[in-house]
């Protein structure tokens, strides 16, 4: 594509829209998560601020904005502030290649999924820096956990996506959506159930959500890598967590659930419905299961998910060779 002024304006508008989406998503998801947690636990959840507590998340973010930012003694000042920023901003880039609708892609690139997988690594870097720089033993333990967990789970995640990529024969996300049909039985979910399952498990681990929330394991490490963060530092980590959740949900919708295609009237609403169903699944299991232990977490990955995803990839390759 030519580098014209129009092109830059388009990207700029897209980035602004994505920032709005990320912040709006965080506000909505904080409310949805707290309300779902409340309902699962048979209590009303947020109730006082606004009708049915809908303004609670906004008021909470105001509180976080107004809070003092505390820096522990002997903390690494630069890295301490760099970490939350590093957690939040790379996620922006990752939304660029996602096809929200048939004509609603910020940046139509042939290597969209490569971009996403490459920049997703920044998230763990920020966790590591945050834990390391805050001069806190819990933080260091959480950071160490975050790194080994992220490295481990990226492999089955990529291998699961690779099976779909083999099938579609492209790295372009829009083309992967186009390769799927409108009806649920034409989605990749049906012909790649194992890959879908592996991806689902890995995405929970990759976004550090319960039952794989080891880096911030509350009952063990108080808050893990963000123990010492307060105010906006904490808010940025929080935003990044929800943005990451949204991203992996969009990728899941694109790869396995037919993206913007639906039984009636294709459009971006289908992408959002599907992505938010995946988000609800993540919230739902968080409030259901206890946390796994660290060695079990790695065992699940190296002993089960990795061989299974390799097997899945192998079978896919053979089937494609035989049929195609």
């Amino acid at each position: 594509m030519e580098l014209s002024l129009l092109y830059f304006v388009k990207i700029l508008v897209a980035v602004l829209a994505i920032i709005a989406l990320m912040v709006g998503n965080a506000i909505v998801m904080v409310y949805v998560e707290r309300k779902a947690a409340g309902f699962i636990q048979r209590r009303p959840g947020p109730y006082e601020v606004g009708p049915w507590g809908t303004l609670q998340a906004i008021v909470d973010s105001m509180k976080l904005l107004a809070k003092q930012i505390f820096v522990p003694a002997n903390a690494d000042y630069i890295l301490f502030f760099l970490a939350p920023i590093l957690a939040f901003f790379p996620v922006l880039l990752l939304f660029l290649p996602i096809p929200f609708g048939p004509y609603l892609t910020s940046w139509e690139t042939p290597d969209g999924i490569i971009l996403i997988l490459a920049f997703a690594g920044f998230g763990v870097l920020s966790n590591l820096l945050g834990g390391w720089a805050s001069n806190n033993k819990y933080g260091v333990l959480g950071a160490a956990r975050a790194v080994s967990q992220s490295i481990a789970y990226e492999i089955p995640l990529i291998l699961a996506l690779l099976a779909v990529i083999y099938q579609a024969g492209t790295l372009n996300l829009s083309e992967i959506v186009e390769a799927q049909g409108s009806w649920p039985w034409q989605w990749n979910l049906v012909c790649q159930p194992l890959a879908f399952f592996i991806y689902l498990v890995s995405l929970v681990a990759e976004t550090n959500r319960a039952p794989f929330d080891l880096p911030e394991a509350e009952s063990e490490l108080t808050a893990g890598f963000h123990t010492e963060y307060s105010g906006m530092g904490f808010a940025l980590f929080f935003l990044a967590e929800y943005a990451n959740m949204l991203l992996v949900s969009f990728v899941c919708a694109t790869f396995f659930l037919g993206g913007y295609k639906g039984p009636i009237l294709d459009g971006f609403w289908w992408t959002f419905i599907k992505a938010y169903l995946v988000m609800f699944f993540i919230v739902w299991i968080r409030w259901t299961f206890p946390r796994v232990r660290f060695d079990q977490l790695l065992n699940i990955n190296w002993k089960w998910l990795l061989p299974l995803s390799l097997l899945n990839l192998w079978v896919t390759a053979i089937v494609i060779k035989v049929i195609g």
Partner: protein, 402 residues
């Protein structure tokens, strides 16, 4: 947040305690504990403000990676001089303290102290009072186990079950409030009886509660006990055999999980427990899972006792005619009375010289002995396992510190 903090630290200074003497100033316990640490190992303070120490317990651990090499519980953050208070108050005035020693299982402590005074004074307790004592103690045992259940699952990362446990706990609180008047720190027992008689609503609510609780136990089983993550977290973790239990004086569910029939209700019978038909569950395994299962079985056995109790309610007064007044003086002598609390053997030893107040009161807290097993059981486990072991001991810090 002064910018004077701007400096790039040597990242190993706080990890390596041996190499930087003088830079780290700890208290007595930290200093002593650090002397034994190998260079490169991390000394971590779990608590006194930590989400999973349930109050203000502080545990010093030496970590090699995620492995716990040594640990040492530090007590006394909630020491309230309960035993000394017994020496300055008359026995009657001291009775409300018993609700505060262990706020989750106050009835057992009520019973231990009231029983010791009654034994010393030779007071007879009416039948109705004994019935009320058994019923309230069993209800309290269930509510204590329920809170432990929720908190234990929360230690393992499952946040939801504790709120389900609280549903049942509220029901028990409603029932116990009818006779005791309060919802947490019950001051129910009196010397020679109990404070208040039960009415029909008390019995009706218990009759409703027993089948309801059985249904909920099935839900607990499906949601938590059979959950694979939960089972893998507990099976084989923190084995505490009979040997170590006997060495440290552990009682209650910990001892029973080791396969020893150790229950004060059977070993030193008191009250009218001999009228009821119930089993003492002993654990299949002596690990965290065994202790978990024993406690859930105990809830079932307590429900059995309640079920039999509401079938046959004795009549008569709920307190002896000439019950001791606040200025009551104990006769000279000694007495010891022990009951089965939710956490193990609760006992009270009174020495009186015939004066206005007792000469000495000794309270035996089961949590104190149970906690002393932790350091040995947690050696060589992962940090997450150490938390699970700590949770499975069912510690109530006010009771440990007294």
């Amino acid at each position: 947040m002064a910018s004077s903090n701007f400096n790039f630290i040597n990242p190993f200074t706080f990890l390596n305690v041996q190499d930087s003497p003088g830079t780290y100033v700890g208290d007595f316990y930290t200093d002593n504990f650090e002397k034994g640490a190998r260079a490169g190992n991390v000394i971590l303070n779990l608590g006194p403000q930590h989400p999973s120490t349930h109050g203000v317990l502080r545990v010093l651990v030496e970590l090699f990676g995620e492995y716990v090499l040594r640990s040492e519980p530090v007590l006394g953050y909630l020491h309230r001089m309960q035993e000394k208070m017994g020496e300055v108050k008359t026995p009657y005035q001291y009775l409300p303290n018993m609700g505060r020693v262990d706020y989750l299982n106050p009835i057992a402590w009520n019973w231990a102290f009231a029983g010791a005074v009654e034994r010393l004074a030779g007071l007879e307790v009416p039948e109705k009072a004994e019935w009320l004592r058994v019923v309230s103690a069993e209800l309290n045992r269930i509510s204590s186990h329920l809170l432990w259940w929720g908190a234990f699952v929360m230690d393992l990362g499952g946040v939801t079950p504790i709120l389900y446990a609280f549903e049942e706990r509220e029901k028990i609180n409603d029932i116990l409030q009818i006779v005791t008047g309060s919802r947490l720190t019950y001051n129910y027992f009196r010397f020679g009886g109990v404070g208040q008689d039960a009415d029909g609503r008390f019995v009706d609510l218990i009759k409703d509660f027993v089948p309801y609780m059985r249904e909920r136990l099935k839900m607990y089983k499906a949601l938590v006990t059979e959950n694979i993550i939960f089972r893998r977290r507990l099976e084989g973790i923190g084995p505490m055999g009979e040997d170590i239990c006997r060495r440290y004086g552990a009682t209650g569910p910990i001892m029973r999980a080791a396969g020893v029939m150790c229950d004060t209700r059977r070993l030193y019978p008191y009250g009218i427990y001999d009228r009821f038909d119930y089993d003492i569950p002993t654990g299949p395994t002596d690990d965290c899972m065994g202790r978990y299962l024993v406690r859930l079985e105990e809830i079932k056995e307590s429900l059995r006792i309640l079920e039999q109790a509401v079938r046959d309610i004795p009549g008569g007064p709920h307190i002896v005619a000439k019950a001791p007044k606040p200025a009551y003086k104990l006769p000279a002598g000694e007495s010891y009375f022990t009951v089965e609390g939710a956490r193990g053997q609760v006992a009270c030893h009174i020495i009186s010289d015939g004066g206005k107040t007792p000469y000495r009161i000794k309270l035996r807290a089961p949590g104190f002995s149970n906690l002393s097993l932790f350091a040995e059981a947690a050696k060589g486990t992962l940090l997450a396992d150490a938390i699970a072991i700590l949770g499975s001991l069912d510690l109530v810090i006010p009771e440990v510190d007294r």
